[in-house]
């Protein structure tokens, strides 16, 4: 990540975001920025507040405090669909799509709300939808109804519909969960290509091998708060991270 990319307008800025359920602080005062083309990994044990943090950014849950900016524009309080049209796309932990529609109908619908779409032209939207399917290698499944797709294809379709909205920031919730090794490698290669095109990516993941290969920086969360924010190498040497993951002795590591 070159120097000037850091000083340019961050694609996504999160400042002091918290989420409280009664007395429980699911997310506690988390802040970070992601520059265009940068990949930020989010790690941490179960119950650390990762998905809840995502939900506050995308609007599926209301943040109790804190501000969020997408390419400089504040998005706190805006509706979910507005945030998407401004360039924020997300995937879900479980592959989900409009299951009675075909793959192409799914990406067409998403493409019809894509960022920077000029004029109402159905053929333009259909073409954008087909392009998104090609990006993830699903063009051969264009006419298949989503519920009939195998699980890996459903995961790729969910990614395709996110990309069809031409996002500037892509939030991924465990994209590698349940994938076998070469499926992981394909997905990592695809994400590397996308970031090359200037897409900012924030990725929650447990599969460390993939996260470490992909992320420029990693935010480790524990009890809803930031435990560590830095490069993957520094993460592996950080005493606190190793303790939370491995416990005191940390095996042969620290």
């Amino acid at each position: 990540m070159t120097a000037e990319a850091a000083t340019a307008q961050p694609a996504l800025e999160v400042r002091g975001v918290s989420k409280l359920y009664g007395g429980l602080r699911a997310v506690a005062d988390v802040s970070f920025t992601v520059a265009p083309g940068e990949v930020l990994g989010i790690a941490g044990p179960n119950g650390a507040g990762k998905t809840t943090l995502f939900d506050t950014i995308t609007g599926h849950t209301i943040a109790t405090e804190g501000e969020m900016f997408l390419g400089g524009t504040p998005i706190r309080g805006t509706k979910i669909h507005h945030r998407c049209r401004l360039g924020l796309a997300r995937t879900f932990q479980h592959p989900v799509a409009a299951e009675t529609l075909t793959a192409l109908e799914n990406t067409y619908l998403a493409a019809s709300f894509r960022r920077g779409r000029e004029g109402r032209s159905r053929s333009g939207d259909v073409a954008a939808g087909r392009a998104a399917l090609q990006l993830v290698g699903l063009e051969h499944q264009a006419m298949t109804v989503a519920s009939l797709l195998p699980v890996y294809d459903q995961k790729r379709l969910m990614l395709a519909t996110a990309l069809a909205t031409n996002p500037s920031v892509l939030l991924l919730d465990e994209p590698f969960g349940g994938l076998n090794p070469n499926e992981i490698d394909d997905t990592v290669a695809l994400l590397q290509r996308l970031r090359g095109g200037g897409l900012a990516i924030v990725c929650i993941e447990h599969v460390m091998r993939a996260l470490v290969a992909l992320a420029d920086r990693v935010l480790v969360m524990h009890h809803g708060a930031e435990l560590f924010l830095g490069t993957p190498d520094a993460m592996m040497r950080d005493r606190q991270v190793v303790e939370v993951y491995l416990g005191a002795s940390g095996g042969g590591a620290a």
Partner: protein, 245 residues
């Protein structure tokens, strides 16, 4: 072979066609404590839910005391002496602590027997007795784990399945939970199958440790052997840290 309390062979399970557990074998001897560790997202809870009957396994055999139980509903498996302390806490939020504990002995014998079990749990876990009249939803994370554990102790068990007791707890709360676990093991001769993401606390209670990665057991051994084993670090941190070598 038949002297095994729990014998899992070729277990295969998952959600909505997403396979999470691939061909898993696991054995637990009577009165012994087996611990299964592994990073999140690799199927620990799914394995436990399949054994407990909350999830229908797609393939494989689960034998308890020599009797096939895979495919049986959770309520019948519970009847065979299996106590399942669930992830998070699985408490009944709208009911008081004492009501939760009484539910633990739903399969218990008489009214008097349940009162006796209640007295025993209060003696073992004074904090739980202190909070007995409070609604479960008002408890903190650590308190909920202790009540969950206490509820598990309310009826005699052949096998206890315990799901990540230290999940999301502050260190001091983890100490209290593991201390209670250690006492429990001393006085009851139930076998324990415990899954945990955090590796260090299990030292005191684990007779054997298994490492679960990507839905299958990849290594087994005593706590001492595994704590210096490099594959553990590999599984957890994805790559061997240069500095550590």
């Amino acid at each position: 072979m038949s002297d095994l309390l729990l014998d899992v062979r070729g277990l295969r399970a998952g959600y909505d066609r997403a396979v999470v557990i691939h061909d898993l074998d696991l054995a637990v001897e009577p009165a012994k404590t087996a611990v299964v560790i592994g990073p999140n997202g690799h199927g620990k809870t799914t394995m436990l839910r399949a054994i407990a009957g909350l999830l229908q396994p797609w393939a494989g055999e689960v034998t308890l005391d020599g009797r096939r139980v895979d495919g049986e509903p959770a309520e019948r498996i519970a009847g065979l002496g299996v106590v399942h302390v669930m992830q998070g806490d699985g408490l009944f939020a709208g009911m008081t602590v004492e009501e939760n504990l009484l539910m633990g002995s739903f399969l218990g014998s008489s009214w008097r027997g349940r009162r006796e079990a209640l007295r025993r749990v209060y003696q073992a876990l004074p904090l739980v007795e202190e909070k007995r009249a409070q609604k479960a939803r008002t408890l903190s994370g650590g308190e909920r784990r202790l009540v969950g554990l206490g509820r598990g102790m309310m009826r005699p068990a052949r096998l206890m399945l315990i799901d990540e007791p230290s999940l999301g707890l502050a260190p001091v709360a983890i100490e209290a939970v593991y201390a209670a676990l250690a006492d429990l093991r001393k006085e009851s001769e139930a076998a324990v199958l415990l899954i945990e993401e955090n590796f260090t606390h299990v030292g005191g209670i684990a007779d054997v440790v298994h490492v679960l990665e990507a839905g299958a057991i990849i290594r087994s051994g005593s706590y001492a052997e595994l704590s210096t084993d490099e594959t553990i670090v590999q599984t957890y941190l994805g790559a061997l840290p240069e500095a550590g070598r």
